[in-house]
Symmetry: C2
Subunit: 561 residues, 2 copies
């Protein structure tokens, strides 16, 4: 059944099956159930096609909802529970409708027949989720960065529950409230009798850090293979995923990664969960796209296994080890029923006894915030420059060298036209020079595969990681504000010192966790950027050496004339 | 006194002191005496500035001329004899007003105060004089090839003289008539009692060729130096010119080269005289312009000394050897009074006795013509591509690498913002990588000086040489037509066999001379293009090797981290 909707973000189509939508534009959606996060519908200009479900709000009329009249509710992939945001449930989040329905196993497969080639233009970088740094102004007005809506963390603890006299944040969409950290800080999350999980933060040489995993491992992702089921009606790509500490591969689809990713978002407050490579409605079976997705899944996996907390997550272990279909479903259910998510996750953190002045922590966080903003800007700048370079390699550079090659060929053809004087050796040397420059043009066009693509992959991972930090930093800011507020109330005699001390203690936990996460980010960044720069330079050297070799071989043809 | 004129060719200004004029546009000229071939005036749009005198015709009103009423006469640099073309003199050309006036020694100096920088845009190649190949269509609609008017050979033998019954060409501007070759073929040029000069054509392995000069030599052009005279009022550039067989330098200005060049045009029918590097009204004292002119004068000189006929010319010898001012003027006068010019020059040629079927010669020339047209096209194409590459090197390539460098620098700056985690070694390596790419950008911008400029210089020389051939080929075509006409008249009994035989014999001379010139062209072309390609490849190899070295040094910074 078709319904009306309104665009809440502008979306620019990147494939011919997609349509562009403008912020505030009225839309018609043909089927309220989004597929793979995409709606099929029509915009106000009468164009029909796909657009991201999370970019629009379905407009509810009186007959559809008894909560609010003509309310607008974010659509997203919520599917069967589209009134989720208009009536925040009191029940704990783990009792809610799971994000994914086991029975609906085909949401990744719906456009298998698509043959649209992925646009090789890397310049349209994905914007970042929940990103509130000021974006650098693009030098090229034709490049549009796609702005993505906030990734909703669905585990808001009810703000209606009264447990403390300290004021609550009225903005229930702020990450502080959504994540449950407000509730945690205010002591609204009861300590549970038995907590199986425990993550330790210890003091390192430059501040708090996550305690390393007792069993570190890596994990390869290889061999993306086209698979079919239902007698060929459904097609998908399967990846061989082999964790080093198990040594036995499992086969996973993108939708499995996506399930895991959403579990991570759900559970890990205060941790910057790496974004998955972008979804794409069409062209998913094109070789270039499969390659790119594989490369980016590898980077994602490297970050996952490198993280002392994320790498130990039970759901991740399940993802990496489970080979049995029945066990898979059971494990999924178990992960979806995990109680230690969001606010409760904070209870699993063990912090050191060292005293940290909250003001110092605040300054430390502000420094990191300034760093992260500048890094985000410069990663964006480098992404833009590298994307433009890819375009130049494929276009301008190739063209220039090929034109030069053609012109040399043309000279050699002219020289052949007067046979008694045709100087055969010279002609064939010039003609060879022409081919050499045509080759060099092709080498330029090929080169991004060996260097710039890898750089862009890594930059994309970091764009995602950096995009998480404003929300994470906001958690600490919110907690710190609560401490100050409770201290003031305590001074005014409106609050027990015990309660205020509790708030301060829990705020320390938030601060330690954030600092550990900052530290982990720096540690990975150093490794990743060193690798990235070295790999880039090595490939560049190899490239120019190949050019030199080609030219030297060509020059030799003239020497024996 | 200002006079009215009409543009006979479209001219596009290339410097801010020049103005553009449209074909047929009415103009006002402030001073009828052109300076260095340029008029100062105003176009119909009220713009004031310089334009080439040879592109306009002065409009004569009744009071200015008693020859024709309101006639239009080509202006050019004819100066005092502006009615030259409207009343062709019967007197031999060597008695005419010389092209240059000794007293007017300052025509090269008039805009000494100019500081306009020469436009570095090589894409505006000079069109070719007397060029009747079809020009290749430029791929870039913004690039205008300047079309130059025909270089007038001023030694037309009067076509009013009656000496033969074979019809004369009525187009007195055709090269056949202008050059005097028609008159020569028809036997109108009397053999002189004593001819001091003699140039021999001999049969080589692939056809007729000029006999090599008994005393071959080379000649260096070095050290362009700014000189002043009249207490600094006049400024000019002087070149040190050192012929190898003399070993003693002379100092020459561009105007001396130009004088020599015009003597060569005047005298050497059937020979492709290399064009001098372009004149330029402004920016003549800019370093880039001086460098470019020097490089192109060297190529011009190399072609001169390599030519068995041109290199032996008495006027050239005078140019290369004379160091005394008084002797210089005497030698100039002598060269200007040379009788063996144009049609008479044909009398100095000694041809072999070998029989050549005229039909074979005709085919030989047609083959060359097709070759020359294709070569002209491909030289134009390569010039266009190379000019565009220069532009890319100075613009796009430099910009891309500098942007990449900036982006790396920006990353390294971000990394410095969180001091406890600032990874100094990595930061300085990344910052160094940024500088390396900025350097590479500069290296790209510098590179044309080492390779493409030299290529463009040589291509420009060949554009000039090729541009001469249509006219030269036309001489042979005209002569061959006369042979057929005289044979027909002979068959009809309207002409003596003797006279027809004389025409045939003189046509053979034209054919031999043309073939010798074609052969010389091929010989030089082979040497020049081999050198050009080798030099280009060597510089390209050196360039990419330098890039590799820079990158290798930079990579090493990461290895010790």
């Amino acid at each position: 059944m078709s319904v009306k909707a309104k665009a809440i973000y502008t979306f620019l189509s990147e494939n011919k099956e997609e349509i562009s939508i403008q912020e505030n534009e009225e839309l018609v959606i043909f089927d309220e159930n989004s597929v793979d996060g995409w709606f099929q519908g029509e915009n106000s200009r009468g164009e029909r096609g796909l657009f991201p479900a999370s970019y629009v709000e379905i407009i509810r009329t009186r007959s559809n909802s008894n909560v609010t009249d003509c309310s607008i509710s974010p659509a997203g992939s919520l599917g069967k529970d589209s009134s989720y945001f208009s009536s925040i449930p009191i029940t704990p989040p783990n009792l809610q409708q799971p994000y994914y329905d086991d029975e609906d196993d085909d949401w990744d497969d719906w456009d298998d027949r698509s043959t649209v080639v992925e646009d090789a233009d890397y310049s349209r970088s994905p914007g970042a989720n929940g990103h509130d740094y000021q974006s650098p102004v693009s030098n090229n007005p034709n490049v549009h960065y796609r702005t993505k809506p906030h990734m909703e963390r669905q585990d808001s603890i009810s703000s209606s529950r009264k447990g403390s006299m300290v004021g609550r944040n009225l903005n229930r969409f702020s990450s502080f409230v959504r994540s449950g950290v407000e509730a945690f800080v205010l002591g609204d999350v009861p300590m549970m009798a038995k907590i199986a999980e425990s993550y330790t933060i210890e003091m390192g040489t430059v501040g708090p850090q996550w305690k390393v995993s007792p069993q570190p491992f890596t994990c390869s992702i290889e061999d993306p293979t086209k698979q079919t089921k239902f007698k060929g009606i459904k097609t998908y790509i399967s990846y061989r995923v082999t964790p080093s500490h198990i040594g036995r591969p499992v086969y996973r689809r993108y939708k499995h990664f996506d399930w895991l990713y959403n579990r991570l978002l759900h559970k890990f407050t205060v941790i910057s969960v790496p974004h998955l490579p972008e979804k794409q409605a069409t062209g998913r079976f094109e070789e270039d796209f499969i390659e790119k997705r594989k490369r980016r899944l590898i980077l994602w996996m490297n970050h996952m296994t490198s993280h002392p907390v994320l790498s130990q997550y039970e759901g991740f272990e399940h993802f990496l080890m489970c080979t049995d279909d029945k066990q898979w479903k059971l494990g999924k259910r178990r992960a979806e029923k995990d109680e230690m998510v969001g606010a409760h996750f904070m209870l699993t953190l063990q912090i050191p006894n060292e005293h940290q002045d909250l003001q110092d922590v605040e300054e430390r966080v502000d420094t990191f915030k300034a760093f992260a903003k500048k890094m985000d800007d410069s990663v964006m700048q480098l992404t833009h420059v590298a994307s433009e370079l890819v375009r130049k390699h494929l276009g301008g550079f190739r063209k220039e060298f090929q034109r030069l090659g053609n012109a040399f060929q043309s000279i050699s053809q002219a020289f052949m036209l007067d046979p008694p004087h045709s100087s055969e050796g010279l002609n064939s040397a010039i003609s060879h020079t022409g081919r050499t420059y045509e080759n060099i043009g092709e080498m330029f066009a090929e080169q991004p595969k060996y260097d710039l693509f890898q750089m862009l992959d890594k930059l994309s991972l970091y764009q995602g990681l950096l995009a998480n930090f404003p929300d994470i930093i906001h958690l600490q800011k919110g907690a710190f504000a609560k401490v100050k507020e409770s201290q003031r109330m305590c001074d005014e005699g409106k609050m027990d010192q015990d309660e205020a001390d509790g708030i301060r203690k829990r705020c320390r936990t938030v601060g330690f966790a954030l600092q550990a996460e900052m530290s982990h980010f720096h540690q990975r960044r150093e490794v990743d950027f060193k690798d990235m720069m070295q790999a880039y330079l090595r490939e560049q050297i190899a490239f120019y050496q190949r050019v030199v070799q080609q030219l030297e071989r060509t020059l030799r043809m003239y020497e024996c004339l």
